[in-house]
């Protein structure tokens, strides 16, 4: 090997590059147009022909060595450069936060319920919060002296001695929407009716004077308790998981007969308990008659449940008033 090539090769191998200045010196010394390697290329003319190939080859290898050394050093230098970017280019700084929206837990629960019912083939209907006596009570088979008609339990908005002017109340349940639906639409009907309802009650952690219900109504030919039961079970399985433990027990509501309630087992096998989650039943023939549906031709079921109750169970909320305080620290938990 040409002694000069060998000497430069040695120089390259011994060169230490520990900063950008040294990197630049290296480049000038070996790789620039006036660098030592380029100088050697100029010697090509002086090399005897038979040695030219070997000289060229080792010169190119030398150049490659210099270039590789430079590239590696450059990369190494750049990776240790972070301390040198300006303070505001530091990407570990926290960014300006953007607002994140949230859905109220009652809307969230309701949406979940709506989605389940949608899968069961139910659509959604709604009706007024201020309701007349006929839709809220009479058509739903409440006897004239039922305690619910008492002012102690129900908010009245209008009470007139003139029988031609109907009493108006803040609806005590979403069931009046059943009547409205049946009045305007012939069976089959398969709808849920979510909405806000009111009870003239004192406020406590367990009760509030307004809350939300979802009513489900299915009317068609040949609808039976068996169909009701099947849809109740499907609902609780979709809502609480397929391993949910449930039971049905007889109950009483003026507007359904037979009436039944559904409980689910809440908590562990040993320390848990039955919790009532919904009331249901077969639409009472009197309700059909009031809404203009022939109970000999059609049958149907209805059920109702409290959205707050379901949400309380779902999220472990211990005070119903929390839903209406709108504390941002509460709302932010339901992104």
């Amino acid at each position: 090997m040409n002694p000069e090539i060998a000497q430069i090769e040695q120089q390259i191998k011994n060169y230490t590059i520990s900063n950008l200045d040294e990197l630049e010196s290296f480049r000038l010394q070996f790789l620039s147009k006036k660098g030592s390697i380029q100088e050697l290329f100029k010697l090509m003319g002086t090399i005897p022909n038979q040695e030219k190939a070997a000289f060229g080859k080792s010169l190119n290898e030398l150049k490659k060595l210099a270039q590789d050394t430079f590239d590696q050093a450059k990369e190494a230098q750049h990776s240790t450069q972070t301390t040198q970017v300006s303070a505001i280019d530091d990407i570990s700084l926290s960014p300006e936060p953007l607002p994140v929206g949230s859905i109220h837990p009652l809307t969230k629960t309701l949406q979940e319920m709506k989605n389940i019912f949608y899968r069961l083939g139910f659509n959604i209907a709604d009706g007024p919060e201020v309701e007349d006596d006929f839709h809220n009570f009479t058509a739903l088979n409440f006897p004239p002296n039922h305690p619910a008609r008492d002012t102690q339990d129900t908010f009245f908005v209008r009470k007139d001695d003139d029988p031609g002017i109907p009493d108006l109340v803040l609806r005590t349940h979403t069931s009046p929407v059943q009547i409205r639906l049946m009045e305007k639409q012939a069976p089959p009907i398969r709808s849920i009716m979510p909405g806000r309802v009111y009870r003239n009650e004192a406020v406590s952690p367990k009760s509030y004077f307004l809350f939300h219900q979802v009513e489900a109504l299915y009317v068609d030919r040949h609808v039976s308790v068996a169909d009701l039961k099947e849809s109740l079970i499907t609902f609780v399985k979709l809502m609480y998981g397929s391993d949910v433990i449930y039971r049905l027990r007889p109950s009483y509501f003026p507007f359904t007969e037979p009436s039944l309630e559904m409980d689910i087992w809440w908590g562990s096998k040993t320390t848990g308990k039955w919790l009532e989650i919904l009331g249901s039943g077969m639409v009472d023939p009197n309700v059909f008659i009031a809404a203009g549906v022939d109970p000999e031709i059609y049958s149907g079921f209805a059920w109702g449940m409290g959205v707050e109750r379901i949400a309380i169970l779902k999220y472990g909320i211990d005070d119903i008033r929390t839903f209406y305080e709108n504390d941002i620290r509460f709302l932010h938990q339901f992104i």
Binding site: G121, N123, P128, D150, E230, P258, Y324, L331, H332
Partner: protein, 803 residues
């Protein structure tokens, strides 16, 4: 209602496992609320011998006792004054649990403690602390020959019972008695029901010789049985009777009163005993007074009983409020020797009304207002007399009077077996149905093909229709046993309504824009409501429980302000809220009902700090523009941005219109509201009518695809100098109207006032984007349009191009 297990066992055989019975009751519609076991074991209590008693150095009433527990001496501080050396007493040692519960129902565990500085290692018990009696006169002293150290249970066996409390639905008046519940269990299990034999005496008259009874209005009292008994000796009840009543939570009064209560809980018939010697004229009149009547009931309370209420009276005065409570003036006392037992049927609605008006519900009124057995009066009265005779052998029935002006007609119903199948969805055999109904004492037999004739017993006034019978079959069959339908659920193709989808779209958009959904009260106080408009235009409730919930919200604004205030008080910095809900207002035509307007609104609000101090930018507060840009995004998201027109309403409020319809506004909350809600920073809100948004969205229809433009557009900037009073938006609207189809959009990119501009002028710079879908635009295509716009603006508003 509480059921004593020992008591229930008299009528039907029950399993040892109380929970099994409780579960069965739940499954047949008598839901178990709570089950308790009474007379807990005395195993943990031991017999101790008091070996020394010394006074407590720091407390007069306490003594320090050294008590031998059979193994060692314990030091126990005791407060009873009958404690003495040598006594054998029940001792609850450290770590033992007392048989009774505290007032909150928790167990009481004895701990090693210090009383006024003296260590006490247990408790010497009084009878009430052991659940043996109510006696708390002093510690219980045991026979002197008792061996110390043995468990107290070897000495005394306490009365043990279980109590199941059940919830009774309004349709089950028959289940308000032990026999009624036993009947249901017997029907469910197919086991026999054994009821006490009551032999009706031969000499029952419809009028008495010594005592006379009259009923003024038979509609209100269709039957009145009076049994006169002499040689009565009033005394404390025997243990069996006391135990039964106390188990179900009643206080034992005396043998006569206790028997009337016992029979009520046995048969469901409320009874009342009068002291016959206190009945003036030996008469009983069932009647009412037109005027309110001051009456002292046997609880010692004088009540103003409203006119029209039903009373039991003697010749001179009222002696009982019918079906609710007896009077002090005719109460059975220790000196009573003759009684009249009353067993009547009072009209449910009469009793309910009076009980409600008096706010007084008693065990009797509870039963009468639900409707008792109309046929049981005589049986119940004789049953009570029999029990009294058992306790007082000298007692004699001298008269039995049964006044029955309106006998109840019995009801027959037909039941179609096919209908049972149709409703329950399970084929239940005719035989099974007949059998079950008969066990419920609904006498049933086959009558023709697929038909069952049923005779409804008088204790089931709730059964009036075929469907009521089907319910009886359903509950005994157990709904849990009904199989899945074989045809499966039919699926409906009916989708969510557009109304529903539009509401969802609004919620999703606002959540996406970083707003937090709130739910606010729709009932607010009158005082609060008056801040938001004329109360005459609002809807109020007539009977609110408190003044906090009188008026239906006329707007979603109060709820937003309240929520903002609530959070501000808890140091929240910036608030971004929205709510979707109904508002109410006076409206002659009405939405659903004449006079009542009910509309769904959406509110979007900003309050407080937009940004806290941050290294990228200093802290900033929300501005009108922050909310306006969110509202703008909402319109874009709803596909309505081209439909919406805005109109200035003062300098800090915008009104939004679609066509001629006003759909809502975007405003800064005024200072006075800000003060009321204690919000010190500016608050902005927008509130819109969702119904109108929905209607327009449906008119606009589904967005259709339009081709992506192939040709580039042209941007053209114009800066216009105009009077300061002219709203930039007005000019923007003018430009966009004159800009021809080629004008695609406009953006204001500069707003300037100051140097080089006259003092009463401002410069607004608009960037106009032109686009032709069919060709590449040249500047020469645009210039004529710009010319026209500028000329026209100059003419109309004396606006000039900024040079």
């Amino acid at each position: 209602m509480k059921l004593s297990y020992n008591w229930l066992k008299e009528y039907v055989s029950l399993p040892e496992n109380v929970q099994e019975t409780a579960d069965t009751l739940t499954l047949i519609g008598l839901e178990e609320e709570e089950t308790q076991h009474l007379g807990a074991s005395l195993d943990q209590i031991i017999v101790g011998e008091i070996r020394a008693v010394t006074p407590h150095p720091d407390a007069d009433r306490l003594s320090i006792c050294m008590v031998f527990d059979g193994d060692k001496e314990l030091q126990i501080v005791c407060g009873a004054n009958n404690v003495a050396t040598g006594q054998k007493v029940p001792v609850a040692p450290v770590n033992s649990t007392l048989p009774i519960k505290d007032e909150q129902g928790r167990s009481i565990k004895i701990k090693k403690t210090k009383l006024r500085g003296v260590v006490s290692e247990g408790m010497i018990c009084a009878e009430d602390e052991l659940g043996i009696s109510d006696d708390h006169a002093g510690i219980m002293v045991l026979p002197s020959d008792t061996t110390p150290g043995i468990p107290l249970s070897e000495l005394i066996s306490s009365y043990q019972d279980s109590v199941i409390e059940i919830a009774i639905t309004p349709n089950r008046p028959d289940a308000t008695s032990h026999i009624g519940v036993a009947r249901d269990l017997s029907a469910k299990w197919g086991t026999p029901l054994t009821v006490p034999t009551v032999t009706i005496p031969d000499q029952v008259a419809n009028q008495g010789t010594n005592v006379t009874i009259s009923i003024e209005d038979p509609q209100k009292c269709s039957r009145y049985v009076g049994v006169v008994m002499e040689n009565i000796q009033v005394s404390p009840s025997p243990a069996w009777l006391k135990n039964r009543l106390e188990a179900i939570g009643l206080r034992s009064i005396n043998n006569i009163v206790d028997v009337t209560n016992y029979v009520m809980y046995e048969w469901g018939q409320p009874l009342h005993a009068f002291d016959a010697n206190n009945l003036k004229g030996s008469s009983i009149h069932v009647k009412s007074f037109a005027e309110p009547y001051d009456f002292t009931t046997l609880d010692g309370v004088t009540r103003k009983v409203p006119g029209g209420s039903l009373f039991i009276c003697d010749d001179e005065q009222a002696v009982a409020i019918a079906g609710i409570m007896g009077g002090e003036n005719s109460e059975v006392s220790e000196s009573t020797i003759t009684i009249v037992l009353e067993s009547a049927y009072f009209d449910p609605s009469t009793i309910r009304k009076c009980s409600k008006q008096l706010s007084l519900q008693t065990d009797a009124s509870y039963r009468f207002e639900r409707g008792i057995d109309s046929n049981i009066q005589l049986t119940a009265a004789i049953r009570a007399a029999d029990l009294i005779k058992e306790m007082i052998p000298e007692a004699l029935i001298t008269e039995t009077i049964d006044l029955h002006p309106i006998p109840k007609k019995s009801l027959e119903l037909s039941l179609r077996v096919s209908r049972v199948y149709q409703i329950l969805g399970v084929e239940i055999g005719e035989e099974w149905i007949i059998n079950q109904l008969n066990r419920l004492e609904i006498t049933s037999k086959r009558s023709g093909s697929g038909m069952i004739e049923c005779h409804i017993p008088s204790f089931r006034p709730d059964i009036e229709r075929e469907i009521d019978l089907i319910e009886e079959i359903g509950r005994l069959y157990d709904y849990n046993n009904i199989p899945s339908p074989t045809n499966g659920i039919n699926l409906s193709s009916s989708p969510f309504s557009d109304w529903e989808l539009d509401k969802q779209k609004i919620i999703e958009t606002l959540v996406g824009l970083g707003f937090n959904e709130i739910y606010s009260n729709s009932l607010i106080s009158e005082a609060e409501a008056s801040q938001f408009g004329d109360l005459d235009q609002m809807i109020a409730t007539l009977n609110p429980l408190t003044k906090d919930m009188t008026t239906l919200r006329p707007s979603l604004l109060p709820g937003f302000l309240k929520a903002s205030s609530y959070n501000k008080n808890r140091n929240a910095k910036g608030l971004r809220f929205f709510e979707l809900g109904n508002v109410f207002f006076n409206d002659e035509q009405g939405t659903f009902h004449k006079g009542i307007g009910e509309q769904t609104h959406v509110l979007i609000g900003l309050a407080g700090q937009k940004q806290e101090d941050h290294w990228q930018s200093p802290s900033s507060k929300y501005t009108f523009m922050d909310l306006k840009s969110s509202v703008q995004s909402l319109w874009v998201s709803l596909g309505l941005d081209h439909k919406i027109k805005e109109k200035l309403d003062g300098y800090n409020s915008l009104q939004y219109y679609i066509g001629k319809h006003y759909i809502g506004n975007l405003s800064q909350v005024n200072k006075s509201l800000q003060t009321i809600y204690e919000l010190d920073e500016a608050v902005y809100f927008a509130e819109f009518n969702v119904q109108l948004i929905h209607e327009v969205r449906r008119e606009v229809g589904v967005p259709t695809f339009s081709k992506i433009p192939k040709y580039p557009g042209i941007e053209y900037d114009i800066a216009l100098v105009m009077d300061k009073e002219i709203a930039a938006g007005t000019i923007e609207a003018e430009i966009s109207q004159m800009g021809t189809k080629l004008l695609n959009k406009i953006r204001i990119f500069d707003v300037y006032e100051g140097e080089n501009i006259p003092k009463n002028k401002k410069s607004i710079a608009y960037r106009l984007y032109f686009l032709d879908p069919n060709k590449t635009l040249n500047i020469s295509d645009i210039e004529p349009i710009i010319d026209k716009v500028v000329r026209s603006l100059n003419k109309k508003y004396t606006i000039e191009l900024r040079s």
